[in-house]
Amino acid sequence: MKNKTLTLYALAYLAFLYVPVLVLPIFSFNDSQFIAFPLSGFTTRWYAGLAADSAMQHALINSLKVGLTTALLSTLLGLMAAKAVTRYRMRGTGAIMAFISLPLFIPDIVLGISLVLLLGTVGLPLSLAAVVLGHLLVCVPFSLTVLVARFEGFDKNLEEASADLGEGSWMTFWRVTFPLMLPGIIASLLLTFITSFDEFLVAYFLSGTEATLPIYIWGQLRFPERLPMVLALGATILTVSVALVVLAEYVRNLGVKKPMVGA
């Protein structure tokens, strides 16, 4: 009896989580401008419309540019910070970690407004570069968390062994640290790319005249007749995002089963 209740609860919970998401793909294939049941037939014309929409493609390319740059920079910065906090005897590593992670807990809208004010004060124009800077604030904590965990998973003696065997710090990084960190680095790239690609508020404040994809979608919502196409776009983004997150998790767990320490 009790088990049945729990099962029902679990099913209801899952429905609550995923039914809203399913609305997107369902209506993106519905052959009607109006988002309402009953469904009126199957079509792929909204997807075909996407392929022909040059403004959408421009926004997509902007988002890819911002996402890739953010992912690379954030992972690089995260890698350096993670190495510093895990490898060197320093005072205040706890405080450093906390300060780097703090932007995660600042509401994006506050972050967006303060960045606009800051850019205005120092006289920098709103641009995609400004969006990258904003996204870095949000993404570096993700990179740091993923990479610190990976650093802690391998024996510090491995880097010492490399030094002992004649390699300086640069070659030690390339021959030992980098290959062993690679799954963490790839996971960090994927996670930060997704985060930046999906981010709306900070981009909305900082992008100026160049729209990223979420901003483009927001703009399209004013036109009811374009709504099915937005749904098609949303469904596509959703599919790719989920795929990337699953991939990131898979890569991050690579090699975890085998112990990475030397013993």
Partner: protein, 347 residues
């Protein structure tokens, strides 16, 4: 200056001294051991020789060259880590070849060099094996080969046999000794296992609390420890309080429950004078059972195969005397302390 010269080296990590004014001289080709309990500073000393830590003061010189400012990658030393630190992303061959990159050897010369080293550590044919498919003993051999292939002036070994089971450890001890004899380079071994230190090394430094208590051959450490701390660390020893009465050819001491004893004056530690309060020390296997002597009673008896171990209670002494030997006739016994086996240590 000796081959490895450590002079007045101090190191602390912001707290009390971990290595406290240590000086050591190790000649070329010696198998030298640093022996002590965990936290005695032996690993820190080894890491300073390797270059992973810098002395706060004092110098470390190898073959006449002061090493203090030389980073680990430029030192003529190589290390076998306690965890072995086998690179998990490389196979056995690439692990061993790791330190040869700068030599820029042609491919077949490199291969030949690594193969020779694989044979030296008896891992022939395992070059293609992945790092995670090695047993504990094989990992140990790879770590050894990877260090030796660079032909260091000094090989440093940090508790190299600690992770192995007893039988494998005994096999590897013999092999380590054989390899060291064969290639003739200086080995510095860190261990907390006194048996390992005694059986492998030409000389042993016993460390405690960051200081060196005694440096001597294994036999001297065992037979003539310089202090109670050393005697306690190397095997088991019985101690009796005594007072020196006379010193001539022989020394006469009043040893309480053991009575008045005469022992060779050479058995007293240097610096002991008439009237001094001292510790008389004797190993369990040198204490004997006899028909007459100090009367006692066997408190415990443990059968160990070729010999047995006893605790004998003496009247007027709370601590039992450890005796190692063959079982006496049962019941009350007499124990004897051959004077030539007694040594006098400062309290």
């Amino acid at each position: 200056m000796s081959f490895l010269a450590i002079t007045n080296v101090n190191k602390s990590f912001g707290g009390p001294a971990v290595v406290n004014d240590v000086s050591l001289d190790v000649p070329r080709g010696e198998f030298f051991a640093l022996l002590g309990p965990s936290g005695c500073g032996k690993t820190t000393l080894l890491r300073m020789i390797a270059g992973f830590e810098t002395p706060d003061s004092g110098t470390i010189a190898i073959d006449g060259e002061v090493m203090n400012a030389v980073p680990p990658n430029l030192r003529p030393t190589n290390m076998v880590f306690q965890s072995y630190a086998i690179f998990p992303h490389l196979n056995v061959f690439d692990n061993i070849a790791y330190g040869l990159r700068k030599l820029k050897l042609p491919k077949n010369a490199l291969r030949a060099k690594v193969e020779t080293m694989l044979a030296t550590v008896r891992l022939e044919g395992l070059g293609g094996r992945a790092a995670d498919q090695l047993s504990g003993g094989q990992r140990q051999r790879v770590a050894l080969a990877r260090a030796l292939v660079r032909e260091p002036k000094i090989l440093l070994l940090d508790e190299p046999l600690g992770a192995l089971d007893k039988r494998l450890r005994e096999v590897m001890q013999l092999e380590l000794r054989a390899i060291q004899r064969k290639i003739g380079i200086t080995f510095v071994l860190v261990t907390h296992d006194q048996e390992e230190a005694l059986s492998l090394s030409d000389r042993v430094a016993v460390m405690e609390g960051g200081k060196i208590l005694q440096v001597a051959t294994p036999r001297t450490l065992y037979e003539r420890p310089a202090s109670r701390a050393v005697a306690d660390f190397i095997g088991e020893m019985n101690f009796f309080h005594a007072t020196v009465r006379e010193i001539g050819e022989t020394a006469t001491v009043n040893a309480g429950v053991l009575g008045i004893l005469s022992l060779p004056a050479a058995n007293l530690a240097p610096g002991i004078k008439v009237g001094d309060h001292i510790l008389l020390a004797i190993r369990p296997e040198h204490v004997g059972f006899a028909a007459s002597g100090v009367a006692g009673e066997i408190a415990t008896s443990t059968f160990l195969g070729e010999r047995s171990h006893f605790h004998v209670r003496l009247p007027g002494r709370s601590e039992p005397v450890a005796v190692s030997g063959h079982a006496p006739p049962s019941g009350a016994v007499h124990v004897v302390f051959p004077p030539e086996k007694l040594i006098g240590l400062p309290v």
